[in-house]
Every structure is written in C-alpha cells, then in structure tokens.
C-alpha cells in the first residue's frame, strides 16, 4: 500500500478483529471456508478504499462492509445456480466450453447487478426486448401493459444500467 499510515491502520484492524469477523461471517454463511475467503475480501476491500484512516467504530464498519459482500455472495450463488440449471437442460452438444461458461457467468453477474434494483415488469420488458428480440407491441401483450408503458420501462432499465455504481 502507498501510505504507511494506511497499512498500519489496516494491520491493527486485521489483528484486532479478523477472528471476530470470521466468526460473524461463519454464522451468516454457515461455512468456514467461505467465511475465511470473505473475511479476506473484506480487508482487501478496506485496503483499496480511500478513507480507511477515519474508522471510528471498527466492528460496525467491518460488518457494514462484510454485509455488502455477503449479499453480493448470495446473489452470485443465485446466478450460478440458475445458470447451471439452465445448462442442465441443454443437449450435451450445445453445452458451452468451460472458458465460455465462466465468461458468460461474469456477464450474467454484471447484468443481474444492473437490473436487480428494478421492478419486475421493467426487468422483464428489458430482457424480452434485449435477449429475445421481442417488439414493444408483443411485450405489451405479454406483460398486460400499454406499448407506451413498455417504452417507459425500456428507458428506465437502460438508465439503471448507465448509472450503476454512481452515487445517487
């Protein structure tokens, strides 16, 4: 790390609270290995964030960061699971290669993250248009809304994708 102060802070944080954080994560996840991995991720996240020297309540801060990572972790598991289920239904000749699968998964995580905060119908309209190439009129029939509404949904979903990760 660039600054000595930073490493010292993180080092102190690590030696004082790593064990406690691992325990907290273990209770959340029910798995020792995953808890250990995520505890590492929490410290990596803190080291790469610009404001760690202002930490006042270390445990509250740690659980805040860890909570975000746990949610993320479950979301990824859910995406992986859904993708595997879908692959299971593919004829063997059509199952993509290992590299392709990992690449698709990464894109899936990203898309899921972009769309996760949106209302169900907005997401559906966007996917039906972008993934299935459906026309607005057909999407409108499918979702029992007007075409005008579909157009609104599309703009809303795209805006969510464009602004992901920005401060609101």
């Amino acid at each position: 790390m660039s600054s000595g102060l930073v490493s010292e802070t993180v080092h102190a944080l690590y030696s004082d609270h790593h064990g406690w954080l691992s325990g907290w994560l273990r209770r959340k996840l029910g798995c020792t290995h995953q808890a250990a991995d995520l505890a590492q991720d929490v410290f990596v996240r803190i080291m790469s964030s610009p404001s760690q020297h202002t930490i006042r309540e270390p445990r509250a801060y740690l659980t805040h960061v860890a909570h975000g990572l746990v949610v993320n972790h479950w979301r990824r598991r859910e995406v992986e699971q859904a993708y595997l289920d879908a692959l299971m239904h593919l004829p063997p000749s059509m199952v993509p290669s290992v590299e392709q699968r990992l690449m698709v998964l990464e894109t899936l995580f990203e898309i899921e993250r972009m769309l996760s905060g949106l209302p169900v119908k907005v997401r559906q309209a966007f996917l039906l248009s972008q993934m299935d190439g459906m026309k607005y009129a057909d999407i409108a029939t499918e979702l029992h809304v007007s075409e005008r509404m579909v157009k609104k949904y599309m703009a809303q979903a795209m805006l969510a994708c464009l602004t992901l990760g920005r401060a609101v």
Partner: protein
Amino acid sequence: MEALVDNNHIAANPSYATLQQAAEWFAMLHAGEFDTEERAALQAWLEQDNAHRLAWQQVENVMRKFQHMGDDAARQTLHTLSQGRRRVVKSILALCLISAGGWSIARQPAVQQWSGILMAQHTTRIGERRRMQLADGSILWLNTASAVNIDYSASQRHIQLVAGEVWVQTATDTMQPGRPFIVSTRHGQLQALGTRFNVLDDGQRSHVAVFEGAVAIRLQQADQPGLIVQAGEQSSFDGISIQPAHEADPAMESWTRGMLVADNLPLPEFVARLERYRRGHLGYDPALSHLRIVGAFPLQDTDRALHLLEQTLPVRVHRLLPWWVTLEST
C-alpha cells in the same frame, strides 16, 4: 498531465440528465418507430455535445453485453432470475418451438428430450432421489436429475423414462388378466417378467440391470433381434444394437439406498457417476486416471464422498469456486 486525467474523468461521466436523454433515445430506437426525421434528430443530439456521444457510447456498451449472451442457457438464467418459475417454463417451451424450427434435424431429438423433461409427470432435481408407489403396488425409485411419465391403461402398465435413471420393483397386477409392465426409453422397450430391475439412460445408451426375474429388451428398430436379461445380469442398448449380457453392477441398485458402491471402479468412471448427483463441475487431473476405487460412498453428501476419497487415495480436493471442484494429486 494532471489536467488531462481530470478531463478524461469528467468526460467519462456524462451528467445524470444526459444519461437520461440517452436512455430515452435508446427506448425510442427500439420502438421501431424511427423514421428519417427522428434519425436526424438523434444525429443532431449526438453532434451537439461530446458528453452526448459518450453517453450514447455507454448505451451501446450495455446493448453489446446482451448481444454477447447468445446462448439459450444465459437467456434462460436471466429470465429465471427476473420472473417466477411458471413463467420460465412457458418461455423455455417457447424457445423449444422456435428452436425446433430453426435448428438442424440432427438436433431435434435433443430438443424433444428437453421439452419432454419439462413436461414429464414426475421429475427429480440434481441430487434428489424419490420413491413412488404405483396404483398396482409396484415401486419406483427415481434417481437424480430424472424424469418419467406413468401411463396405466386397460392394456398395459407403461413407464416412460424420459431422462435419467429409474429402479423398479413390479407387483402382481391388480387387474386380471395381468397387464404387461413396460419401461420405454428413447432407445427401446423393456418388458418386465415379474421382477426387480434398474434402467439408466446416459444420453447415448440405455443400460438395464436385472436383480430378480428377467427383462426382455426390444429395440426401437423392431426388425432387430431382442434379448432376455436374466437376474444377476446387465446389458445396454442404443437404438440399433444390444450389448451381450454380463454380470450386473451392484451400483445399479445401491443408489436406491443412497450409496454409490464402487467395486474397483476407475477414477474417471467414479467421477462421472458422482457428478450426476452434484451441481457444478467436478473434474480430475488426468494423471489420476489410473487410480481404482473401492468402497461405498454417500450420495446425499457428495462433498463427504470426496473427503473420503482424500483420506484413502493420494488425492486432494481443490475448490476453485464453490461449484467448480477438481481432484488433484497430492
């Protein structure tokens, strides 16, 4: 240098209002109502400001992500994640219909099987096993990731194995005279002659192992000779020919008790069998191919089965991802 970096930083982040406009242009573009006048209007908007062009570039980046997600599994995944289960089945069926028209003939049987699994009366998920008692008292065990249809009519008792594996213990028919008990796979038909047997469709061939009584195999191509498999024997067949009978593998029955019995099984075969009960990838270092495995392994906890392997063989279980596991040599 400092100033340049700063410029880039600002340029890479068009304002919220600009992104909003770009999103609206996107929605209009996809409405299919884009005439020359609107095209000119979009062009004018783009030329108006560098930030507009950057915002539109970001729109195109998002669109590109979806274009690269060509395969059906990815599409299916996103639909699953964003809508209820029922809707998913409907959309998979719709995909089947589209695909059946568009794909080459060679792929059609696979498509039929795919939709067959979805429409089957009884299915199990990966890792699930289920016992069923039929109207006449016969007992079925459905193994992991399997699908069957049960059709009892006035003339026969028919089990259609759509995918996976089923173990059957037939009962004397409640109707007199007794109706024949038939298990069919896509490769042929099996008629039970008072019996306990197991049928596995591995995708390429159907395997039948008989533990009591006997089973008659009839191929899909009816002009080919059939075969009667006796208790303690097993055989396999594709649509065209039948393998001569040989000694039955106890593993073809032990799964109903939740065990994978390995009797001197080569490691690649062991991995292939265990993988059927697990989600995700299970691979192995080719250097381990010569290893042979003896023992009984729990199927309801395949991680434990792998752990047992670690204790008895020079093998280490490596977890790259929770669902991406490989066996490596120690």
